[in-house]
Amino acid sequence: MIGRAVSRVDGPLKVTGGARYAYERQDFGRAAVGFILGASVAKGRIVRLDTAAAERAPGVLHVMTHWNAPAQGPRDGSLPDQFGRPWPVLQGERVSWFGQPVALVVAETFEQARSAAALIDAAYETEAGAFDLASHAHLAYAPRTAAVGLATDSVLGDLDAAMASADVTIDQNYTTPAHFAQPMEPQSCLAHWVGDDLHVRPSAQGVAGARMALARTIRIPRERVHVDTAFVGGGFGSKLRVHEEAVFAALAARVIARAVKVAQTRRQVFTITGRRPETIQRVRLAASRDGRLTGVGHDVNMQGTSREEFVEQTATVLRSLYAAPNRLTRHRVTDLDVGLGEAVRGPGELPGLLAVESAMDELAHELGLDPIELRILNEPERDPERNVPFSERRLVECMREGAARFGWSARAARPGSRREGDELIGIGMAAAIRMHFQGATRAAVHMGRDGRVVVRSDMTDIGTGTYTILAQVAADALGVPLARVTVELARSDLPPSPGSGGSWGASNSSNAVHRACESLKEKVFGSSNASGFGRADLTSVVSRRFPDGVEGEGSIVGMADDPNYRNFSQHTYGASFAEVAVNTVTGEVRLRRMLGVFAAGRIINSKTTRSQLLGGMIWGVSSALHEAAHVDPRYGNVVNGDLAEYVVPVHADIPAALEAVLLDGIDDKANPLGMKGVGELGVCGTGAAVANAVFNATGVRVRDFPITMDKLLAALPPAF
């Protein structure tokens, strides 16, 4: 059962509309609908907010502004549980970023609410703001830590000295733009009060975070917040925290004493939801002529805001990747008057590996070395900064397997030397590494007298396949058919988990469920002779001896409490390979084929895993060639804030020759099941593989992502 390509158990519900998402749910009768009005300036204060016409408009039930908004808990970036921090709305007349919500209109229908919102007469006194990173980069400061509590800086030896004395050096700046996660289901929430109890149906990656954030914001005990987020249409980091839609729904539902639902419009997802920060990255590599790294450096300056710090762990990607005696990695933050930074898929790794793995390709070119050989030459024996062993280390295996499958040996070492008609063809590769995390998780498994099994956890399924893999884990451990297992997820009355995010959900919850199954079996058989019974006996023993069924509970501790995290450096690995064609007339870049080879410990479901990896790889392509949120440096707004102009790949951009290969394995240091996560791994390094393929095709190194045609045009052969 473990490892099989099981189709999603919730698939039929999803394709028949039976899976209801937050905004579609009818749990509390016909809900009133709230529409958010955003500020039309980025910095300043509200000097007029006349809601009279909106209040008189047809169907309007309530208009909320900073004049009448209920008191809420203040923003507090110092609270350690980032996802449970308060998210207060309408906190006064100050406007701190473009699109900041300034009012909520609640009406009988969405159309009435939207129409009435347009009648609100708002005026602002604007102030000059700081919106672009490049011209404010000198204001950068050193944050206390990077995300996940990772160290701001790491220093070993003397990088400057290594650079000064090296045979060959690379010292380049790379820039990456702001990105938005943009899940298919926008951020939305249905809320209803029963007495002093708040019932919410948010679209959330984690139940505990949503519950705590709402409790702190609304100022009620956590136990009085009841969360159910059974189906979530994608998250990618953007639903780790609840946003204005959830707080507004909760506040308004109490005011009008009726269920209220609020969703962000697609354009609001570009203003209200957080962004992956824009970065300027300096990568330094020092090497001997034979290709051994003597120094590696990665300085990252990213945009932030003074409202709440978010430090994407971008400068961590080099810390465990290559051996070198002299090392320096640093995160710096430059506060701007823009939307908050938040996790976006592959936080840290996506922008960090774009830069670092481009730089490694530059070094290989300088040295005249094969890029894979260069990486193998610098493969570390132990974690180069922590000086502990790796739990497993399979980067070289990923690269060799990928090279053989992709036909890497056919790569022309000289850039720009392979032409087919009007196209220059190039291939490139990049390595990937991603830290494996673990969060304290509990689960319960119940087997009834009839042999039916129910798995319970507040873990979410954000489209990744949690319902399916937890059913597989339980079916496997208990020796029952998959159809006998029901999985209940994503409710606050279920055993707690840290939810989906950071690629840890599958391993956290699978291990907790696995242990709950072990505990259940132990209750049935007794610890001493548990192994003495055949698995087939379990259901018959339960039906004979446990009239009320039997329940097992299982848990896994957080990484801070797991000695294996202290004693081993735990990662997932990958190597991606891309072939691109660059049109010699226009500079358009098209992906021709792509392969990723990944090692992530034991795989529970080869189908859902492959799907996640393919999606991640496409996102990597997007980061190299397409995706950028353009901020107007005068107004501070995201200029291309819709899915027509915020360009991500469509089907025609992605060839059928896209494949993800998983190396079989078990990481026995990671957890009892030996598994790790893949949610982020697919985006790691894939962008750099594409960028390196563009260089191989054209000889042009673009360091300002994405690589658009205008950046290649000047270097193409003359047209006449």
């Binding site: 039309s40 098209r590 005068r634 107004y635 200029v639 102009e645 360009v647 951009d653 045609m709």
Partner: protein, 322 residues
């Protein structure tokens, strides 16, 4: 979206009259552009006149050997019509390069011609835009102007026209037929349908309030190589960064003897310079110089003229190879 009233017109003349009678009234056909703009508060009609049931949905031969395309012929049907595919390849290709299958099923011929710019500042109601709010200024001039015009623009507006279909029709010298509220009809060469922005960028065409496009007439088939090359930020579902509709004939010497070149993505209307086409014997550089004369770029779209020159040269090279 503002509240609006709605009626369904029974005939072209009735539709024209209905729109003329009510200030703030608009026609609606496929609605693929208008409804989006209404939801965003960019278009705020008070009254919609639905023209979907007034006929005008046929493609018929004209007496001079051309084709008359009804205003309500859907883009998908037009692109699939065997006569269009056989005799007007540039048009079929342009249509299929636009939007998506779903949108082409709904979008109409006349609506495609009248679709509005995709300038990002036109789309953001918080920003100045002379097209959306006359007199408020143009935020694109000093703004993020990658998609904006480099030819025929003004200090009031640098928007481009987003249609692919219109660019091919311009290369073909199509004629736009209309009916006015008083029942009279006229024919407007497609070259004259769209205005340059000048001081009145909100006034995008020469059509009067209530004047309804009834058909687009194509001339008899034009022999030669029909090309539509659309360059964009991704392989599909994106507006043209620069596009070229070309009809080219190779002479006996193997060089291009006649060529028609209409560009999209460069201006407020499909951009074609007939005087440049007369210099085709002098080669692509000379033709490009004339087509692009007076180009005014920003730091964001300075690559567009280069791209246009390269497209034109590649089209001529391809024709010479045929």
């Amino acid at each position: 979206m503002r509240a609006f009233s709605y009626e369904r017109a029974a005939s072209p003349a009735a539709a024209a009259k209905a729109v003329a009678e009510r200030p703030g009234a608009r026609f609606i056909a496929g609605g693929t552009n208008l409804l989006d703009l209404m939801k965003l508060g960019i278009e705020t009609p008070t009254h919609l006149v639905d023209v979907n049931r007034i006929g005008l949905d046929a493609i018929a031969p004209t007496s001079d050997g051309g084709l008359r395309i009804g205003a309500l012929v859907r883009n998908a049907d037009l692109a699939a019509d065997p006569r269009i595919r056989r005799d007007y390849g540039v048009l079929a290709r342009a249509l299929l390069a636009g939007a998506s299958g779903q949108l082409r099923n709904r979008a109409t011929t006349a609506g495609n011609l009248l679709q509005r710019t995709r300038c990002p500042y036109f789309y953001e109601t918080a920003m100045p835009c002379n097209k959306r709010r006359p007199g408020s200024g143009c935020a694109a001039l000093e703004g993020f102007s990658r998609s904006n015009a480099v030819l025929g623009a003004s200090d009031a507006c640098i928007a481009t026209h987003p249609s692919d279909m219109a660019v091919a029709m311009r290369a073909l010298d199509a004629r736009v037929e209309t009916v006015s509220p008083d029942g009279s009809s006229r024919t407007v060469p497609i070259a004259d349908l769209h205005r340059l922005p000048g001081d009145e960028p909100a006034q995008e065409t020469v059509l009067q309030q209530g004047e309804l496009i009834t058909a687009v007439a194509l001339p008899p088939p034009i022999q030669g190589l029909h090309l539509y090359r659309k360059v964009r930020e991704r392989a599909s579902y994106a507006f043209a960064t620069v596009s070229l509709a070309a009809v080219l004939v190779r002479g006996r010497d193997g060089q291009v003897e006649t060529g028609r070149f209409a560009f999209g993505g460069l201006a407020h209307k499909p951009w074609r310079v007939e005087a440049a086409e007369r210099e085709v014997a002098r080669g692509p550089a000379a033709v490009s110089d004339l087509v692009l004369a007076g180009a005014r770029t920003t730091s964001h779209n300075a690559f567009k003229p280069t791209l246009a020159r390269r497209l034109l040269a590649a089209a001529m090279a391809e024709a010479a190879k045929e």
